[in-house]
């Protein structure tokens, strides 16, 4: 009854959806060339003794052995762990508490939100500088408190090896909690108002409602936020450079700085690549399962 018309032939799979494929070329290139290619390249060269220029002279695991023997690397890892742990906890807790406060139908919400979010618009360089100064014992908070009469008051985190990482944490939180607050606020606003009403009718106190009902409901937002914070933590570099340059001594070194210093200052690319590979590994352990669940597993659209 019907002849073989154009529409009856299954078109070539490659040509189908051609425009979408063309539009995705930048993404595909970035993913393959830069991210996969660059990563593979870095991993391969981490097994060489490349110095200033990359050279394919393999030396096995030498770079890794040296890496894990370097006290500076160990300190960097410890710092990252401490910094990461506290900045995750504090960002989430502070961000959530602030969001919860902002969600109380308060007046001047816009003003408060703007105040909390503006540091996010500033660069780490700026943040680092300002806090370096505020925490400077000669001019900053310590001197102010002392001039008010507490002569023995001491608050100089940036000059005390034991707590310098917390000094950096203060600045990091100042810059980052605003965004977390915003994300959390968006999450809170997305929650069905009837849930609140139901909880009130049930006589559940406010804080219990938050802890036992609302927070578990915000799983999605919290995960997104976690991932955003976590990715920032692994990358932390500028802030340390601007605030302490890793000092005093090497007390506030972080892995990203180790990578940079050894690649470019020490002109030992192999060492830098080995360190980056370790960082990549950390990232992979945290992120890949999440990304797979979130985007890879053929989840339903939307």
């Amino acid at each position: 009854m019907t002849g073989l018309t154009r529409g009856s032939v299954r078109p070539n799979q490659w040509l189908r959806n051609l425009n979408a494929k063309i539009a995705s070329i930048p993404m595909i290139l970035t993913a393959l060339v830069i991210f996969v290619g660059g990563t593979a390249w870095t991993v391969v060269y981490s097994f060489t003794n490349s110095k200033l220029l990359p050279r394919l002279k393999f030396v096995g695991l030498d770079q890794y052995e040296r890496l894990w023997e370097a006290p500076r690397w160990i300190i960097s890892i410890q710092n990252l762990a401490v910094f990461g742990f506290f900045s995750l906890i504090f960002s989430l807790v502070i961000g959530f508490v602030l969001a919860a406060l902002m969600d109380q139908k308060i007046r001047f919400e816009n003003t408060f939100r703007t105040i909390m979010l503006y540091p996010f618009a500033l660069s780490f360089i700026v943040t680092g500088l300002v806090w370096q100064w505020l925490l400077n014992p000669q001019y900053g908070i310590q001197s102010i408190v002392r001039s008010l009469g507490w002569e023995s008051f001491s608050f100089d985190p940036l000059y005390d090896s034991d707590i310098v990482i917390y000094g950096i944490l203060i600045a990091a939180l100042w810059q980052g909690t605003g965004l977390v607050m915003c994300l959390m606020l968006a999450g809170l606003r997305g929650i069905d108002e009837d849930i609140w009403k139901a909880a009130r009718v049930d006589g559940i106190p406010m804080w219990k409602t938050y802890v036992l009902i609302i927070i578990p409901m915000m799983r999605g937002v919290i995960i997104t936020t976690l991932v955003i914070i976590a990715s920032g933590i692994v990358k932390v570099y500028d802030l340390v450079v601007a605030q302490t340059s890793g000092g005093p001594g090497i007390a506030s070194e972080v892995p990203a700085k180790y990578v940079y210093d050894y690649m470019f200052l020490a002109q030992n690319l192999g060492q830098g690549f080995a360190a980056s590979t370790m960082m990549l590994l950390t990232v992979a352990i945290i992120i890949v399962p999440w990304a797979y669940l979130e985007f890879g597993g053929g989840r339903k659209r939307g």
Binding site: L52, P71, P137, Q138, Y159, A251, F264, L265
Partner: protein, 388 residues
């Protein structure tokens, strides 16, 4: 022709010195395009290197001559200056010759040294000692002895910035002063780990331990901020290279009157002859290449050398220039140089990698009082053993 020159000379004295180079180059009808990158060599070098390897080379760039540019040369990215050198007879005029040796790789010359920097100086604030009511010390031991008096007067005895290379450099200075030239060469040139672990070096570490104690409370990052502490009398002294002199000059202070300098810490008058040099990346452009040659030869012109080094506080690379205008301290340096009491700088002897490891060690050592000198020495010996 415009020629972009990158360097990391951004402090007051340095900038003034660079201006002299630019003036001299501009006088040849070319144009010096200044590409200063602040934050010391640590920040600047990676940028320079990525630009050269990234295929976007500048016209000329500063490095500490020695091994920093070694691989760039080997990779054929740098311009061979042998011709210019031949023509201008650099072999003959550059003194000490070790400077040119550091520019030479496989018989070819790749850089134009512009100054001699020596690290081995102790700068003292006369005002600070006056305030503390003690004599201005004449050597390291006296300095250590005077420290309590300074502290009592609320003065930090020894200013030391937080940048890692300062700690590492200070140690080298102590080493030359306390253990002497031979030990220094055995450790850094011959990389003898046994010596590095030995009693001579242990003494040096003892002294470093003293220095660490004396420098507590400096709380500054940059070397020139540390120098500024000395200039303003907030600190008693600073172990720093002769470039610190530039800062004293900018501040309008006079050697001998306002400040005192003790080469070799007043113990062992030997100075190292590191320094800065300009390298010239290979550029396709005919005209730029020509301009590069002009710049290279300008840099070594006697007038340039004088003008530049007076501002910079360093010593000229040629022995045949007249430095009548030089101040007290510079003259002391020239004397020592003339006597031949020179050693090579660590930049020339150690790879940047080993240098960095050494910096990590000393920056930790100086910041962390709980690290014992013995531990530090053990690690130091390991670094020397691995060094190349």
């Amino acid at each position: 022709t415009d020629l972009e020159v990158t360097h990391w000379w951004t402090s007051g004295g340095e900038a003034a010195a660079v201006a002299e180079l630019a003036k001299a180059f501009d006088a040849t009808g070319n144009k010096w395009v200044d590409g200063a990158i602040a934050g010391s060599g640590g920040t600047a070098r990676p940028i320079m290197i990525s630009r050269i390897t990234g295929g976007d080379p500048m016209g000329a760039t500063q490095f500490n001559h020695g091994r920093q540019a070694e691989e760039l040369v080997e990779a054929g990215l740098m311009r061979d200056l042998s011709e210019v050198a031949e023509r201008e007879k650099w072999r003959e005029i550059v003194k000490p010759s070790s400077l040119l040796d550091s520019c030479t790789i496989e018989g070819k010359i790749y850089c134009a040294p512009v100054n001699i920097h020596s690290w081995q100086w102790l700068w003292l604030s006369n005002a600070a000692f006056k305030q503390a009511g003690v004599e201005v010390p004449k050597n390291w031991d006296e300095f250590v002895a005077a420290a309590p008096a300074l502290e009592k007067a609320g003065i930090i005895p020894l200013a030391l910035g937080g940048q890692p290379w300062q700690a590492s450099g200070a140690f080298d200075v102590l080493m030359v002063a306390i253990a002497g030239k031979d030990v220094f060469e055995q450790v850094f040139a011959k990389k003898d780990a046994e010596v590095a672990a030995g009693p001579e070096i242990a003494k040096v570490f003892k002294a470093a331990d003293d220095a660490r104690r004396l420098s507590k409370g400096s709380n500054v990052q940059d070397w020139n901020q540390a120098t500024n502490l000395v200039i303003t009398g907030k600190a008693g002294g600073q172990i720093m290279g002769d470039w610190a002199q530039g800062e004293f000059q900018v501040a309008g202070q006079k050697a001998g009157e306002d400040y005192t300098c003790l080469p070799g810490l007043g113990v062992n008058e030997v100075i190292s002859t590191g320094g800065d040099a300009f390298y010239f990346p290979l550029i396709e452009d005919e005209e730029k290449s020509k301009a590069q040659e002009v710049l290279a030869s300008t840099l070594l012109k006697p007038e340039t050398q004088v003008a530049f080094n007076l501002k910079k506080g360093s010593l000229p690379v040629r022995g045949d220039v007249d430095l009548a205008a030089a101040n007290d301290c510079m003259k002391k340096g020239l004397d020592i140089l003339a006597k031949g009491n020179v050693i090579q700088g660590t930049d020339q002897l150690l790879s940047p990698d080993s240098q960095k490891q050494k910096e990590d060690l000393f920056s930790e050592f100086f910041a962390n009082p709980s690290m014992t000198p013995e531990d530090a020495q053990k690690r130091f010996a390991e670094i020397i053993a691995d060094a190349d």
